[in-house]
């Protein structure tokens, strides 16, 4: 899978109509749930070639658009046009689609590019104005069909919202294996699940580095919890810290170091260390409280974290030098934890415990505008998507003791379950979109 990242995908931009004249633009707004845009994604047209791309690309795009929370993809059983129809020869009728109430239409043509490669042209049609409004051509080997579907899905998101989508990114998480927890990664639609560690131990609190090539995590490999990194290409594991103190919650800082919580005696502190494990700075020293779960602002000037310095655990924000810590979680709960600072910097997501378990909240970094996103079941461990539009978290979906992963839009709409394991999936972390 990861070797795909190394393969160069040739992308030619086909400007079929001048992009300035696009009428379909801006029907969707980036914020707010709004109306779901009705769209159809029929099978691709194959010209002089046989390929599973015909079905697999539209199916993957359908899953992606469904997850996005912006589109309503019409069920393919309803389509009037025959599947895989090539529009050039026998003319395709926009009326076959407008009559179904569809406003957007994704079509594509697959031909041979020679040398076993495929040339795949993808188009987005505006059914109402009867025009192609977006076109891309991809050349790739047949093993990269999902990648092409992800790339065109991201183009569709960019076309409608001005911000590229997150398709092709992955989520790391811990999953129960027997009585232990191992590290896993999966695609954001829950497909392609891979177990990374097999320590027969506890591998928890994973997070991604900036380029998406490494995961940081805490492992009890040698009985004592220390920070390790996992290289996703080479599968090599590197031990970063090596001492008897508890180290947990490691994350890459904007300047390429690592921030984590370190406990010595009954003193736990937010500490920065280098990528080789050397302690750089103790940011919360000597307050005799639990300080844990640091999350840097994207600009690197502030850190959100959890502290019980005033009694119960609450979310605080401090300057990156450790000064000026202020509580920001005031939502009528005596237990608020798990802050994650959005990639855009404008929101912090966290959880608070209520009568019926944890719920997700967002808040401005100054503590204003608190908003509860979930109210059903138990919802924990939130992590932002790289575009700041979604949050992945673990949930029991209000019905069982088994936790699985879910994603939700940042306004609390369109919650979707993305993992369905029976042993329990926890503590997801959303990785960057591959270039």
């Amino acid at each position: 899978m990861y070797k795909c990242l190394n393969l160069i995908l040739l992308i030619f931009v086909f400007v079929l109509t001048p992009c300035n004249n696009i009428n379909a633009q801006t029907r969707l707004s980036v914020d707010g749930a709004g109306r779901l845009y009705p769209i159809a994604v029929p099978q691709l047209c194959l010209e002089g070639i046989d390929s599973e791309a015909r079905k697999s690309i539209p199916e993957k795009i359908t899953r992606n658009l469904d997850i996005s929370g912006y589109f309503q993809v019409l069920n393919s059983n309803m389509y009037i046009e025959s599947p895989g129809k090539c529009s050039a020869q026998d003319g395709f009728a926009y009326s076959d689609w407008s009559v179904l109430g569809v406003e957007g239409l994704v079509k594509g043509i697959v031909t041979s590019a020679g040398g076993g490669n495929l040339r795949i042209q993808m188009f987005l049609h505006d059914v109402q104005v009867k025009k192609v409004v977006l076109g891309k051509e991809y050349t790739a080997d047949p093993g990269q069909l999902n990648k092409i579907a992800d790339k065109f899905s991201n183009e569709i998101m960019k076309f409608f919202t001005g911000i590229e989508g997150i398709f092709g990114s992955q989520i790391s998480y811990s999953s129960k294996v027997g009585r232990f927890k191992e590290l896993f990664v999966a695609n954001i639609d829950g497909t392609d699940v891979r177990q990374l560690t097999n320590d027969r131990g506890l591998a928890v609190s994973s997070s991604w580095n900036r380029n998406g090539r490494e995961l940081l995590y805490t492992s009890y490999k040698r009985r004592i919890p220390n920070i390790f990194s996992f290289d996703l290409n080479s599968k090599r594991v590197r031990q970063i810290t090596n001492d008897s103190m508890l180290q947990v919650g490691a994350r890459t800082t904007p300047d390429g170091n690592i921030v984590l919580s370190r406990t010595a005696g009954k003193e736990s502190d937010i500490v920065t260390i280098s990528s080789s494990g050397t302690v750089l700075r103790n940011l919360t020293k000597n307050n005799g409280a639990i300080d844990v779960s640091p999350s840097f602002s994207p600009r690197g000037d502030k850190i959100a974290f959890v502290s019980n310095r005033a009694g119960s655990p609450q979310v605080y924000v401090m300057n990156s030098d450790g000064s000026g810590a202020d509580r920001i979680s005031f939502v009528n709960s005596n237990y608020c934890t798990s802050p994650d600072w959005s990639p855009q910097g404008d929101l912090i997501v966290f959880v608070c415990r209520g009568d019926r378990g944890f719920q997700l909240y967002t808040i401005n970094p100054n503590g204003g505008n608190a908003r509860q996103l979930t109210s059903r079941g138990k919802n924990e461990d939130p992590s932002w998507s790289p575009d700041g539009r979604y949050i992945v978290f673990s949930s029991n979906f209000g019905k069982s003791s088994i936790y699985n992963l879910a994603i939700i839009r940042k306004d609390g709409s369109n919650m979707k379950q993305i993992s369905f394991g029976r042993s329990g999936d926890f503590d997801p972390s959303w990785g960057p979109v591959p270039k």
């Binding site: 009585r179 927890k181 609190s205 009890y220 919890p225 919580s261 406990t263 009954k266 779960s293 003791s401």
Partner: protein, 169 residues
């Protein structure tokens, strides 16, 4: 079940060494292994053999688990009495080293509970040290909420899981 238990007992007894076995026989305690986790007897055997996590193994009544309130690492009156008993036993058996394992119930947040468990273990450690147990004989580790003794989801399970466990393997 009995077969598994006795097999595990023999293995862990061998691993723990003759001394521990002798000590426990002298003190007349009933040596038993505990099956951790539901339906997990196979991994129990290999865990006991590999000794990654010291839940199972020989148990000394004087070193029974010490319990805590929710989100607390303060020793209650009962907890103090238990810790006093443990201190006496450890001083009478000064060749035994102990790992203090801090555990939490599932209701908190995993990362926070990691630290909470560490503080629970440290509270017991400090109390034992104040009673004269040599600190070189004790170490602490926290498993947070990750290895519950009781897999249930009610207060009776939670109260059993908020504990410090003495591991003498």
């Amino acid at each position: 079940m009995t077969l598994i238990k006795s097999a595990t007992l023999i293995k862990s007894a061998c691993r723990s060494g003759f001394l521990v076995l002798l000590v426990s026989l002298l003190f007349g305690c009933s040596c038993r292994t505990r099956n951790v986790g539901p339906g997990d007897s196979n991994s129990n055997i290999s865990t006991a053999t590999s000794g990654v996590y010291g839940e199972d193994g020989i148990q000394i009544p004087e070193l029974s688990d010490i319990y805590f309130n929710f989100d607390s690492y303060v020793l209650s009156g009962t907890a103090r009495q238990q810790a006093n008993t443990a201190a006496e036993w450890l001083q009478a058996n000064d060749h035994i080293n102990v790992v203090l394992e801090g555990h939490c119930d599932e209701r908190g947040t995993a990362e926070y509970n990691m630290v909470l468990g560490a503080n629970r273990a440290r509270s017991v450690y400090e109390h034992l040290r104040s009673l004269g147990v040599d600190s070189s004989r004790m170490s602490t580790v926290s498993y947070g909420e990750e290895l519950p003794l009781d897999p249930g989801h009610d207060e009776s399970a939670w109260s059993l899981n908020r504990r410090v466990h003495f591991d003498i393997n």
